[in-house]
């Protein structure tokens, strides 16, 4: 079993310790919820896992492989995909082009091979387009496939980003507040998508403020406060933990 793990990861910004010896393990085929108050280090941890921040101490591993010093790109190739708190689609491209971009790790054509339109480039293009179409049907965006991404509504952008993340057949999908700005109905649909992804054997890290949603969906939950792990366990254990209630959930 290949897990994505942070092992006693510390990250310091100036004088502020954003993460202090945080350990977390996301297993394949599980939804791992990550909760905590603002500034507790949730997004910092996600950035440390996906490579946008390099850990000052501790290690990030994928199974046996050590990713600690690897760039974002190498982690993408290793099978770690992510979405962003504020969706980052390319505004001038169509939705399907944006999703296809996520298939970059599968591209073997060289720049000059592509320029010469070698058979492989055209074949890859066809394969990626077919997969992107399937994924867009799967997440429910078939109707806006050819629309410019800048014209999408907020929820559509969220789902398109998830489709882009799934394009490269990742082992792990890290979601940064995917439910932010969605209506209750859309959150339900998001839950359907995330569960389907989990059931396909992909490990999901769910960073979220929406605690009901996290506890309902997750197999395991980690609670952070001030850059430290205060509790890790099943949703029921974390929800009833006295410390978690004190710092985050309230009485």
């Amino acid at each position: 079993m290949i897990s994505l793990a942070a092992k006693t990861v510390t990250k310091v910004f100036g004088g502020l310790t954003a993460l202090s010896e945080v350990s977390i393990e996301v297993r394949p085929g599980e939804i791992h919820g990550l909760i905590g108050p603002n500034g507790s280090g949730k997004t910092t941890l996600l950035n440390a896992l996906s490579g946008y921040y390099l850990a000052d101490a501790g290690r990030v591993t994928l199974g046996e492989a050590d990713l600690t010093r690897d760039s974002v790109q190498r982690r993408a190739f290793a099978g770690v995909a992510r979405t962003f708190q504020k969706p980052r689609l390319l505004p001038t491209l169509s939705v399907i082009d944006n999703v296809m971009l996520g298939g970059w790790p599968a591209v073997r054509s060289t720049f000059f091979g592509t320029a010469l339109s070698w058979l492989r480039a055209r074949r890859e293009e066809r394969t990626l387009r077919a997969r992107a179409e399937e994924l867009l049907h799967g997440v429910g965006l078939a109707q806006v496939m050819t629309r410019r991404a800048s014209l999408l509504e907020h929820a559509e952008q969220r789902f398109a980003e998830i489709a882009r993340g799934l394009m490269a057949s990742p082992r792990f999908l890290l979601l940064d507040e995917p439910a932010g700005g969605l209506t209750p109905h859309e959150i339900e649909q998001l839950g359907v998508v995330i569960r389907t992804v989990r059931d396909a054997g992909i490990g999901v890290l769910l960073v979220e403020h929406h605690t009901d949603f996290v506890f309902r969906l997750s197999d395991r939950v980690t609670a952070l406060d001030l850059g430290r792990v205060i509790r890790q366990g099943t949703p029921a254990e974390v929800r009833h933990d006295a410390e978690v209630i004190r710092v985050y959930l309230g009485a």
């Binding site: 790790p105 592509t114 480039a121 890859e124 799967g138």
Partner: protein
Amino acid sequence: MRASRAVVMVGGLLALATMPWWARDQYQLHLAALIGVYWILIAGLNLIVGYSGQLSIGHVGLLAIGAYAFAILTGRYEWSPWIALMASGGIGALCGLLLGLPSLRLPGFYFAMATLAFALIVTEISLAQGDLTGGGTGLSVPGFTAPFDTPGGFHALILSVAALITWLTWNVARFMWGRALIAVRDSVVTAQAVGVPVFRAKLLVFVFSGLTAGVAGALFASLQSYITPDTFVFELGLFFFVCIIIGGRGTIVGPLIGTAVLTALPEIVAPLARWSTFFYGLLLLAVVLLVPEGIGHVVEIVRARWKPRSLQSFAVTPDAARLARCLRADPER
């Protein structure tokens, strides 16, 4: 829509190819050849400016290097012009690599300044190395061998090379590399997230644009038949850049139109020849103010204004079964 575009393209290509027979005078033919030569450079530069979003204003330096390489190799060392043409492309690519390696890590305007400095240095070197380049007096450049030694034949050669380069850039633009370059332009964070090697992608495109600039330089030198450092003024580098900005980013046909219009502008406004710089400025201002997306996007803009597509809103309804099938069919798992 697709068929009409193909008709326009084939018609335009035919009109250009038959130009030696219907052009009114040699000057028109020369002008068409000049547009072709500029376009060979701009087509490559378009991948840098219009797709990757890197503001190079110094490609005139690479043009000069290609031109001098061709003039020296054919004139002084008496190489075959065909070998020299390819060598010019190679030298252009190599100089693109040497310029790109240190400068492509610089952000926005600093990169533009580096390319500007490069163009100025090339001019100075061509002045200083008089033994090789003829200094301020310049060099005369041999033409190509028959049947490309006539204006009509040379026109055909330039048209063929331009068509080939356009096809190459079109392939880059429409496949995955095109998406990757636009990601580099619009969001480096996104490019990283999907695994695009940002610096390497920029460098590859820059080397490619060096190659097209070198080839363009060789053809340019042969077309002008005499080159001096004054031929490669900095304004020319800015001109290439402006052709792309007027044409629009992320399109190929826009910069092509921009190149043709701006190169032919002095001819179009011939009765007011002394005003041609004024019209150049006026056109630039008009495009920037009225269609900042560039003339390559005019059709979409007009269409969007006259026939606003109703952006029908609908509820996002995932199809879990289909998604599951798609994820299970993953080759890697």
